[in-house]
Symmetry: C2
């Protein structure tokens, strides 16, 4: 099956994907049988182009590097909006990577629904729509005989959702605990090295880990959104962000970090989903984790998840949680998983 | 597709699988669409039975618990040998779990070849045949339009090979490092707690982690076999056990462990596969691992692997490396992966 693809939202993440595809197209064809053709890109800032004969990946990368956008692409139809690009182009796969909105899910949610209703599969790293409407999107995909995959919504390209759903298939998972926000983990690491919270935050901002307004990270909102996704996707829950017992790291003092260490513990911002009978409890809060636990030793901006299972006990995965190529890899792994399903048919 | 299955070799691991299937049959059907029917078991000690109408999983488990074998199974044909069970029963899936022989691969290797030539897929935890003949077995499976899967040959049910090949699809892996032998990791953990090597080994033997003759574990042979599998399966190599630079832990003194710790390091028996250009270097040896590395904090009988990738940097997975249910889970995850491939067709 040839994956005729439209990219909706052409920021860092889908640029990461396009760069990977441009450099690995031959290898992906040979090793995984991936037949990929980029047909369209639609982005209100970077530019929109659709060519029914396909776009040249190398040319897109070259344009991005030279001009920072794709407005100068030499062929094709220009300036189709996102909905027209999804509905009216000769495509069967939509890569949805518009900015996340965790309150309404828009515009991503409408993009995804439109794609699925048009019988086009979706891969995305956009957390908002998945956190808000996973059951609905899943149903829509099934009804239309297509797929929606979103590995990159948690831990970027580090296998997390696919690990739980596929590699751990057959296990019952009773608990997921993890470090799912790199910014706060970086700040806590620097505090352990002796920096005050404000200084550690400043360093995180200088390195580009934290936004000018760091609220979403330090108050645990970003972690909470990912916790909702894990609860609903991995544990079959039906929780919303309002169900999360959420506490950020702004109340943590250097003294707390020091004291924990004296007791052979480390303070980590822990996202947690626990199944108790039919009930699913979800929280994000700073916890003192014993140094003997794998999560305690995850430092700097690295993320990790521990799944507690019936057959295997604890399984921990550790890897990056953000980054252009890292999140582009999440999209790629989803496309390759789709390809495997269709290839065997 | 209905998986009509014969189990060849009915020791702990396939008993673990049968117990899981007996208790989760309904859930596996509902959640993964798994249609599984146990048709035959062949084991020279535990007994052999084939019933063309299928065997009753609950009855098998009950018999095992009551008599330790399946000789009293009430119906079916008794005493078919392994080759006849593979060739002459109405089956399409062979679970091969006879004892590992790393010198000849037998009898597992002949079982697997016979199954594949009979156009029956194979799932196995038997390291010998995979370490000795993976390229040949893979080719045979492809030629016959069937599959061979063997997640449990490394790290039992902890996703390792499937993690590298499927969840990390699209990444190039340049290095795999890991703790792939629980016995030696347990001994090294006890030595850090102050026990001399001999006492730590004795404790491992008492707990059933180490054999009476501990050579295969403590001299690194078990780790070396797994390293061959990783090199050939994950890195596309063509190495044999003779290519491994192998050193065990018998030369490690308490003093070495103490000194490493003073330098914020821990001695671990590290299996390593490194790709340098077209060359693949393989080794098993005790290494001083900095405490900041995830592998340094893997204690007792737990195993772990770190994959160094182009898109994601280091990805580490930590989990059990042995156990009846843990390795039974490896077989189950392979069966579910097969089912997914065929289900989508």
């Amino acid at each position: 099956m040839k994956w005729k693809t439209a990219v909706i939202g052409f920021g860092n993440v889908s640029q990461g994907l396009v760069r990977i595809l441009a450099s690995k197209k031959e290898m992906l064809k040979e090793k995984y049988g991936l037949d990929f053709q980029l047909m369209a890109i639609s982005d209100p800032v970077k530019g929109s182009v659709y060519d029914k004969n396909g776009l040249d990946l190398a040319k897109i990368v070259e344009l991005l590097e030279r001009t920072g956008n794709i407005k100068g692409y030499p062929t094709g139809v220009k300036n189709l909006d996102s909905i027209k690009t999804i509905k009216e182009t000769d495509t069967n796969l939509i890569v949805e990577t518009t900015p996340t909105n965790v309150k309404t899910g828009e515009p991503g949610l409408t993009h995804m629904k439109t794609a699925l209703q048009s019988k086009k599969s979706v891969v995305t790293t956009n957390k908002g729509p998945i956190a808000l409407a996973y059951p609905e999107l899943k149903k829509l995909a099934e009804e239309n005989g297509v797929y929606i995959r979103f590995e990159g919504t948690v831990l970027s390209g580090t296998p997390s959702l696919n690990l739980a759903l596929e590699a751990l298939a057959g296990c019952s998972i009773s608990k997921v605990q993890g470090i799912v926000n790199g910014t706060t983990n970086f700040i806590l690491t620097k505090m352990e090295e002796g920096k005050a919270y404000e200084d550690a935050l400043k360093e995180a901002q200088e390195l580009g880990y934290a936004e000018t307004d760091p609220t979403a990270d330090v108050e645990g909102w970003d972690a909470a959104v990912k916790t909702v996704i894990m609860a609903n996707v991995v544990m079959g829950g039906n929780v919303t962000i309002g169900d999360i017992h959420r506490k950020g790291i702004t109340g943590i003092a250097l003294e707390d970090v020091r004291k924990a260490k004296e007791n052979n513990k480390r303070i980590k911002l822990i996202a947690e989903v626990v199944k108790e009978g039919d009930k699913i409890n979800v929280s994000v809060s700073p916890k003192e984790v014993p140094l003997t636990h794998p999560l305690a030793n995850v430092m700097n901006a690295i993320n990790a998840l521990t799944f507690t299972t019936d057959h295997l006990g604890d399984i921990t995965i550790i890897g990056p949680g953000a980054g252009r190529v890292e999140t582009g890899q999440a999209l790629l792994s989803d496309i390759l998983a789709l390809n495997k399903l269709f290839r065997s048919s």
